[in-house]
């Protein structure tokens, strides 16, 4: 019987409660979770490396922090899946569609989900991207 090492996920969001809840949900499903509350601290952690997937909030300390972080991460770790979480849709009605090739070129995420994200949905998508 082989022991599969738990997959490591980094969750980046400046909303402390969102981060704590996501961490608990992912840990409850057997993942190892590291959290960061800004693009700056996330970058440092990603340098150290070893993450299998990233969940990033689109807007943090600056309007485009999450968006920029995704770009940087994809450059450094092109094979690491990124899920972008945004409250922008709820606020502005703008939809980000990663199926649309236009959007694909500037959003460096494998998937964009709008807050509030159902925990089951997040877990399903993570399992799919890590498969």
């Amino acid at each position: 019987m082989s022991q599969t090492k738990a997959k490591r996920i980094i969750v980046v969001d400046d909303d402390a409660d969102y981060v704590l809840q996501t961490k608990m949900r992912l840990e409850g499903a057997g993942y190892e979770v590291t959290t960061a509350d800004s693009r700056a601290s996330a970058r440092e952690l990603v340098e150290i490396g070893g993450f299998d997937l990233a969940v990033i909030d689109l807007m943090m300390e600056e309007m485009d922090a999450g968006f920029m972080l995704a770009h940087e991460m994809k450059k450094k770790h092109p094979d690491m899946p990124i899920i972008m979480i945004t409250s922008v849709t709820a606020e502005t009605g703008i939809y980000f569609n990663t199926q649309d090739s236009g959007a694909n070129s500037w959003i460096k995420a494998d998937l964009v989900l709008a807050k509030p994200v159902r925990p089951e949905q997040l877990l399903e998508q993570i399992a799919r991207l890590l498969a």
Binding site: D14, A16, D17, E61, P119
Partner: protein
């Protein structure tokens, strides 16, 4: 302000006489800042009248009752249908009580009995203009108030969404037993939920406070206030918070300084200034509060050695629900209404408030209040 007067009469002589009589007139009314000038538009029959009106050219309509082909009451009816936002003065030689009643029911504001002197015409026009301008002012104020109330409620609904969502998320985590079946595993969850709830409570409380201030519903208890005493009282209530982080509080009030005001309001001012100075300070920093008087104005300065603000942040500071969100303020709680409330109260004292700040160094708030009648 230009008021457009539409003169509708089949007699050219009357039309031109009225036009000449009012074209250089400048009116002033109590309660209205702007001077009013008239722009006259002439119409010789019902059709011309209605055409000008549909072009929006008749704030005031001087309307001849007996027009060729169409009767004045009919025009009034059409004005009603068009939802004409103006004032109509009927000019008529056929002044029977019945006509007057009919016309008034249809919306006429006043009557000028022909033959009338130009002075009588100007008097009637002046009355009608005053009525129009005041009515429009009231309508605008009501619309603005409605707009503000709506915005307020929208913003509040928006501000509550986040904490409500957070607490719901936490409860679901407990319900789903995501971290196992021991209650200790959920202590962070419970603590954070309580913090968010407290935040909601504070938000609602501050909002009520602000609304009461805006609507003038708060009853003020104005009396002579001993500033030394009230400042000492407020400083003491901030003491614990300050001591927790080693922040030194120093207070200096001019000897025997008094002012005429409402104690609760002044407490809010001092508490607000002091709590902000502590909240946004660095550990082991200091807060210096000075209160003095000059030329009938009380001057309050509250300086802290705290995180400071950039000029763009200072500009936004007094907006409602504005909380300066950056790396340094992440862990600081607040409703975002404190300074809005402060500003409203300061205005009750015909005062002023200003801020100077150097990022990462210091911030100083200066509040000036009218001292009022003190012996």
């Amino acid at each position: 302000m230009t008021v457009r007067v539409l003169v509708v009469d089949d007699e050219a002589g009357i039309r031109t006489a009225i036009k000449r009589a009012i074209e250089n007139v400048r009116e002033r009314f109590d309660g209205i800042d702007e001077e009013i000038i008239y722009e006259t538009v002439l119409a010789e029959d019902g059709d011309a009248c209605l055409k000008h009106l549909s072009d929006g050219l008749g704030d005031i309509v001087l309307l001849d009752y007996k027009l060729p082909g169409v009767d004045g009451l009919e025009i009034l009816r059409r004005l009603g249908q068009m939802k004409h936002d103006g004032v109509v003065v009927m000019m008529t030689a056929y002044a029977s009580l019945e006509t007057a009643i009919d016309a008034t029911k249809l919306g006429a504001y006043d009557f000028l009995a022909k033959p009338f002197t130009l002075d009588e015409m100007r008097y009637s026009l002046r009355k009608a203009t005053q009525h129009l301008v005041l009515r429009r002012q009231a309508e605008q104020l009501a619309a603005e108030k409605k707009q503000v109330r709506f915005q307020f409620i929208s913003v509040l609904a928006h501000e509550l969404k986040s904490p409500l969502g957070a607490v719901e998320g936490y409860l679901r985590i407990i319900k789903d037993q995501v971290a196992g079946d021991t209650i200790e595993a959920y202590s962070d969850v419970v603590d954070r939920s309580l913090v968010r709830l407290e935040g909601m409570r504070k938000l609602i409380f501050d909002l009520l406070e602000l609304t009461r201030l805006e609507s003038g519903q708060k009853e003020r208890d104005l009396r002579q206030i001993d500033l030394n005493e009230i400042v000492a009282y407020c400083a003491e209530s901030v003491q614990t918070q300050a001591a927790e982080r080693g922040i030194h509080l120093s207070v200096k009030v001019a000897d025997g300084l008094k002012m005429f005001g409402d104690r609760t309001e002044l407490e809010i001012i001092f508490n607000n200034l002091l709590t902000n100075a502590v909240k946004y300070n660095r550990d082991s920093g200091s807060v210096t509060l000075k209160v003095g008087a000059k030329a009938g104005k009380i001057s309050i300065t509250c300086a802290d050695t705290g995180i400071g603000m950039k000029p763009e942040e200072v500009d936004r500071l007094f907006g409602e629900f504005v909380r300066i969100k950056n790396e340094k303020t992440k862990h600081i709680t607040g409703s975002g209404l404190g300074l809005s409330i402060l500003k409203k109260i300061v205005s009750l004292y015909d005062g002023s408030i200003s801020v100077k700040s150097i990022p990462a160094e210091k911030t100083t708030f200066t509040v000036k209040l009218t001292q009022g009648d003190v012996p």
